[in-house]
């Protein structure tokens, strides 16, 4: 089990602060939750806690970005995506400013706080914005790599982070699609933390003689379709999994590419249906809304029939 993404991200921010003088960090009164407080402690002059005002925070960051700084704004994913949408669109993205939007407590990971705090539409929103790149890391190591990558970019990057400790995936050199399990019967393209459930599903299926190929795909935009297309050429079946509503997120991004490229295959998706979620312990909550190894295995099995 890895450390939680938020812990890894906070530590990485503080570490990179030493080598990146242009790095400034802003938070909206949740720095002890997002762990940006670690940076604040190390570099108090470059840390700005602006209170519970996400919209203001994003625009302050944008102003700093026009003057050579590379800001990372931290708050809960849902509030960045919804309360600061105008600022992210009209100031950060329209002007293509290098602001890193770090959305903490992504998906259902703020599980006990309930639907008001669960971010199930952020990927669709961020993905629709011109100039924005969207990364949904699968584990802590990917979250750190996402931050390193974002700091090399001249425009905005959205990084969706998870609250809880989740299993580690096979390591990779850079932020990009990783083949976590090889197989020939069905392709499971898994976004974010659903990759670990997909790997478990592959193990379940293997016992039945079905070999699933699991691709962990953190980069939603720009989406590199090649590894998915290559895998589907072999398996002829694709199951997409994501911790997000099935409208407008990762599944939609993959579907768009497949339609455009004229690739036809047996196709299904696991994610949150058109519904609001609720309070509860994280893994049982995910399972109730379809995100579990068992359900992924069921849906992959059905594709293989």
């Amino acid at each position: 089990m890895s450390i939680a993404m938020r812990d890894a991200f906070g530590k990485k921010l503080a570490e990179l602060g030493a080598t990146h003088p242009e790095l400034v960090v802003l938070d909206a009164d949740v720095s002890s939750s997002t762990k940006s407080a670690l940076f604040g402690k190390a570099f108090p002059d470059r840390f700005f806690n602006v209170g519970v005002a996400e919209a203001n925070m994003v625009d302050i960051a944008a102003g700093m970005a026009t003057a050579g700084y590379h800001p990372v704004v931290n708050a809960f994913a849902i509030f960045l995506a919804l309360k600061a949408t105008d600022q992210i669109r009209n100031t950060v993205c329209y002007n293509n400013l290098p602001v890193i939007i770090a959305g903490a407590y992504g998906g259902l990971s703020d599980s006990f706080d309930g639907a008001s705090h669960q971010s199930i539409t952020d990927i669709a929103i961020m993905r629709a914005l011109p100039n924005m790149q969207v990364i949904v890391p699968s584990d802590s190591a990917q979250a750190e790599k996402a931050l390193e990558y974002a700091l090399t970019q001249k425009g905005p990057v959205y990084i969706r982070l998870n609250r809880n400790a989740m299993p580690d995936l096979p390591p990779s050199e850079a932020i990009g699609t990783v083949c976590a399990v090889e197989g020939t019967d069905v392709t499971i393209a898994a976004n974010g933390i659903t990759a670990s459930f997909a790997m478990e599903a592959a193990a379940l299926l293997a016992k039945e003689g079905i070999t699933a190929e699991v691709l962990s795909v953190p980069m939603v935009k720009p989406l590199d379709p090649a590894p998915i297309v290559k895998s589907v050429a072999k398996t002829g079946k694709l199951l997409c999994t994501e911790e997000h509503v099935l409208a407008g997120g990762f599944f939609s991004a993959v579907s768009e590419v497949f339609m455009k490229q004229g690739i036809s295959c047996k196709f299904d998706a696991v994610g949150i249906e058109d519904t609001f979620t609720e309070s509860g312990p994280y893994e049982p909550l995910l399972a109730k809304y379809g995100i579990s190894a068992e359900n992924i295995a069921n849906r992959a099995r059905a594709l293989c029939k």
Binding site: V24, D45, R46, F48, V50, G51, A53, A55, N56, V58, D59, I60, A61, A62, G63, M64, A65, T66, A67, G68, Y69, D86, Q87, N90, T91, Y94, N95, N96
Partner: protein, 296 residues
């Protein structure tokens, strides 16, 4: 363009006095009225309201280099009331950021002069605006960046009532007071008329100075007449008078200033200047310019 105005505009680097600024603003109003009439689109009311403020700021006060628009030590100006874009464009063109002839491309396809200012298209625009209420937050970020870089540039944010209707402005007002951001100035173009009606009908802002003071701002001791360039220069002197930040100045202005039938009328927020209105209005503007040139 008269010989006298031409002469003034041929020396953009120097500091102009109140009478000269007044004549320039009167001339710029004519340019704006012409182009908004020709193009049949744009916002006259708010552009006319801020004409003296922007003229004084760009021709008397701020430190900029039109040959190097992104000069890192320059003073920053954010026109938070981005619908007054024609006013900003007219000033920037005559200040040397781009050819004056380009003003006629306003709102045309492929033009750098977008409906609302775009920083990545047009030199001299420090921040894209249009959606109201962003300017103060972005400006605060610029002011904090100056502090971090140990630089002394000033950041001016020009807001109207519409911006101050937006909740985000008050988030920024709170946070600027927290950080006591040096050289950060809010200039309120307070014409008291919004799109749908007067400020009192739509969203009363008063007592505005008291509100800003209560939020911890250093507010100018009086509201200045935003069409009297002598008073605007007095407000600049007040900005330099102490080191207490952030600073706010309220300018009493008139929406649609300079054309009698557009003054104080919310309907002239974004109305098209038709031929009959143009014929009548341009005479008034020309007469105003003549008076101001005569005073030079």
């Amino acid at each position: 363009m008269s010989k006298r105005i031409k002469e003034l505009l041929s020396q953009p680097g120097r500091t102009f006095n109140a009478d000269e600024l007044s004549a320039l603003a009167a001339y710029f109003r004519i340019v704006m009225f012409d182009i908004l009439h020709d193009r049949g689109t744009g916002h006259w009311g708010g552009a006319a309201s801020s004409a003296e403020l922007t003229t004084a700021l760009y021709f008397n006060r701020i430190s900029i280099d039109p040959s190097n628009p992104r000069w890192e030590d320059r003073d920053r100006v954010i026109l938070s009331k981005g619908h007054a874009s024609m006013n900003l464009y007219t000033i920037l063109a005559h200040r040397g950021f781009f050819p004056v002839e380009e003003l006629s491309s306003f709102r045309k396809l492929d033009s750098r002069l977008q409906g609302h200012p775009c920083m990545n298209k047009l030199p001299g625009v420090d921040m894209s605006t249009g959606a109201l209420g962003h300017g103060l937050s972005v400006g605060l970020g610029m002011a904090l960046a100056a502090r971090l870089s140990k630089k002394n540039w000033w950041t001016y944010v020009i807001s109207g009532e519409g911006c101050l209707n937006e909740g985000q402005s008050w988030e920024a007002i709170m946070s600027a007071a927290k950080y006591k951001s040096e050289h950060f100035v809010l200039m309120i173009d307070y014409n008291k008329v919004q799109l749908d009606g007067t400020e009192d009908e739509i969203m009363p802002l008063g007592p505005l100075a008291d509100k800003l003071k209560a939020f911890g701002w250093n507010v100018a001791p009086k509201a200045f007449n935003g069409h009297d360039t002598k008073e605007i220069l007095d407000s600049f002197a007040w900005m330099d008078s102490d080191d207490v930040w952030p600073k706010a100045v309220i300018y009493d202005t008139v929406k649609g200033k300079g054309v009698s039938f557009t003054e104080g009328k919310n309907t002239w927020h974004g109305a098209v200047i038709d031929d009959a209105s143009y014929a009548k209005g341009i005479e008034e503007l020309k007469s105003d310019l003549s008076k101001k040139e005569a005073a030079l």
